[in-house]
Amino acid sequence: MAQPPVFVLSVPETPDDPEGSQEPSPYDESEVHDSFYQLIQEQSRWAAEEGLELQQREPGPGALGALGDDHQALLGPEGVPVHSMATLRILASMPSRTIGRSRGAILSQLYNRTVRLRRRAARRPQLRDVGRSARPSLRLYDLELDPLVLEEEEKRVLLVKELQGLTVAQRDHVLRGMPLSLAEKRCLREESRTPRGKRRARQGGRGLPSCCSQLQDSCVLALHNLGLVLLSGLQALKPWRYALKRIGGQFGSSVLSYFLFLKTLLAFNALLLLPLLAFIVGVQAAFPPAPPASVPAFTGLELLTGGGRFAHTVLYYGYYSNATLSQPCASPPDGGQCPPEAGGLPYNMPLAYLFTVGVAFFITCITLVYSMSRSFGESYRVGSTSGVHAISVFCSWDYKVTQKWASRLQHDNIRTQLKELLAVWQLRRGPRSMCWRLRRVAVLGLVWLLCLGITLGCTVAVYSFSELMIKSPGSTEREGALLALPLVVCLLNLGAPYLYRGLAALERHDSPVLEVYVAICRNLILKMVTLGILCYHWLGRRVGTLRDQCWENFVGQELYRLMVMDFLFTLLDTLFGELVWRLISERTLKRRGKPEFDIAGNVLELIYGQTLTWLGVLFSPLLPAMQIIKLLLLFYVKKTSLMANCQAPRRPWKASHMSTVFISLLCFPSFLGAAIFLCYAVWQVKPSSICGPFRTLDTMYEAGKVWVRHLERAGPRVSWLPWIHRYLLENTFPIYLVSALLLAVIYLNIQVVKGQRKVICLLKEQISNEGEDKIFLINKLQSVYERKERSRVGRTEAAVMPPALFTDDGDTW
């Protein structure tokens, strides 16, 4: 009778494993057993049903086949009811199954569903379409085909019309985002492209707008093609695609985020370097100033100290001239002096220096804030409650992992994570005693106190050592002695985190993520305080002691030395922390476990290095170039060390939260501190009088003021610029006004977010109520159909069966 369809339908429904022979895993075997089990169940139930026609269709496979078994496995509180084919047909066309985000998506989802239903129906008879007796169901089956085809055509036509109404770029965007197969998308694209002439003809009545739309279309198309060309060019420039893929495949997303952060920093440095190269370094290199009397010879020590031969190059502030550069004229027209306008535009070097550094910082600021806000937008959502189980199940498998042992590690991690989550539920946490809590607070307080004490100790050490350097005579002459302060700073930066890690072992936090955040916090405090002391040392003390020398050059050289030392110490740390540790743990301790890659520590190193670059840009315009070289070398060193020596961290972080945290740390303490330092240096400190572009001025900012006064004298046509300068920049009232407006806008935004949260709660309640309504209606519908079915079957069976079997099941609902 209807038995053969049982075999045809239910076997593909259960995921049978064609490669069960290739990879015998424990799960595959039970899968196969499950499908047989289900088959046997169905068979026995069918047999039971055939015997007693009017039995209650409890776990009835008559209408659902494998579906019914699935629902049987589910034991929710309501119990999902079994539906007849009529109900199912109605359910399949419910709008809730087809909700999309845009009209095109709605149509395409509708289209997809109907196409799929049609294909499935065409291939083999659905079990749900075959009822108890063949004839009515076959009739229904035939009827089903025609309405479905019509629906599909309608939807398709609507979809194509929808696509034709869009511009080319929009259409491509919609097409790419549609959840349809590629072949169907290509057909839609073909159909929506051809009748373009029709559209233009329709708009041909209005002359000008059609020209505009044509122009717009061709502009958009040209831009689109340009974008594609740029993108493919950019892809060619991505040299590390394969390396990143290997890292992601072996170590997962969390370790990969470190390397992606390194790439981001490279981009920031390149962005910073370009204006500096174009407007400052290039120009000055083309017009070199008169060389000084004695130029020291090149010794190898310059690479470390940055002084000596390097001091009189384009690398440092002191090289740049304070005059207006102009092209030297080849031959004077009448033997007299060169007219100043002959031979190209004059170039005001001090102004260019100030403006270029300012604009470069401004662009960096905008880019940082933009990427931080985008990162935040991805990571945090309004009204998000913890869905930690669902997220662990659906979002924790990292699809990038490609190695067998790495995927093994992932399986282990997920299993551990799930077990821990369950343990929280299974274990009843006893009420924590007051004594326990007090003890815990005391331990935490003590550890924090010790860590802050270590920080204070390091700060005092750096301060006293810097004072010692100032007081000791001849320290600025001997090149080697200059390396002492950077050495001390780097040693402290290297040693203190190990002390922190040791102390943190006493704390024993509940959540490992909190541990890592606390470690980051402590390391960050140490580094920022050290840098703060050094900034005070440079701008506060060194400026005083180097009164008749070039103090800016000195500060630039100090930063150069710090960068180089930092790089060398990072290399040393990689060598000892990872390679030697692995060798020791393998040989002597006989453990197979490799050291874990310390993501937090390495990222803080990157942020520290970037802060040094930003601090030094004003005094050494080529410092970003050095940072780029350093980052390139660091990438390869870290990658090699990672592959050879390390394993992925046992408790992987959430990669997206991490990138948000990294970018925020880069923006807030790091960039903000550098910007404050720069502003102070530009506005408050007197530049040295013998070198640099600002040697005759009181502050660096005066170069701008001088130019504005020059413009005032130049004439009334550019008088708006001095006006802006006087009333908007020099005056403090507009700044107060703008700050007050910003605060008001922020407050309004906070209130809006609070309101949205309330609305989300209300909507959640509403969804839950609607769900209950839906279930109620479906059950009512089902009962109506069942009664109809039963009365029909009862009528046909009345002649055959004895009336005793006519049981009135009554209303089940």
Binding site: T14, L74, H389, V393
Partner: protein
């Protein structure tokens, strides 16, 4: 390598470029990957749109997929007949959706289809059990698995009908910022 003009016509490449998130170069690279899977089967000339399907057994041996517990479901979802055998279109579609440029909604839609083992447009408890078992390689016992499934349904089921619809799944994905970075295959 081969001139790209002999493999695809210009219009075909344009169509692929407009309908996927890949550029021409990437499409050619993917084509060669596809061809490497079955050099005897896949023709070197696609201008006549040959109907060639690489069987699932070969797709499942790709290094990007071979250690993925959901590789079979991925191949089934993206293949034309749901049996795992993929044409070039299916292949490109799969990697386009799994690439980093695909939007969240599109990925969520396909992730939903992947985790819906019985293809009934809902993720019911049975689907969840399959997912959890595959994730943990069967190392959690049955009680733990069912507890996890119960918790997942508690958290994600908005209309309390005992299973997750596409909207429930998408709402849950919105709260998971990792999803975009984990549901991503680099090729």
């Amino acid at each position: 390598m081969g001139n790209k003009h002999t493999v695809f016509t210009h219009e075909q490449l344009e169509a692929y470029q407009d309908c996927t998130f890949f550029t021409r170069k990437e499409i050619m690279r993917l084509y060669y990957r596809y061809q490497d899977l079955a050099p005897q089967l896949v023709p070197l000339d696609y201008t006549s749109c040959p109907d060639v399907k690489v069987p699932y057994e070969l797709i499942g041996t790709m290094p990007e997929l071979k250690d993925n517990p959901f590789r079979q479901r991925i191949a089934q979802v993206f293949s034309e007949d749901g049996d795992g055998h993929m044409t070039l279109d299916n292949f490109l579609d799969m990697f386009s959706v799994m690439s980093e440029m695909a939007p969240r909604d599109l990925k969520a839609y396909y992730a939903f289809k992947i985790y819906d083992f019985n293809n009934d447009d809902y993720i019911c408890a049975w689907d969840l059990e399959q997912t959890v078992t595959k994730l943990t390689r069967g190392e959690l016992n049955a009680e733990e698995v069912s507890l996890v499934c119960e918790k997942v349904l508690d958290e994600a089921d908005g209309d309390h009908d005992g299973r997750l619809s596409l909207e429930d799944f998408q709402n849950m994905i919105l709260r998971a910022p990792d999803f975009l970075s984990t549901f991503h295959i680099r090729i």
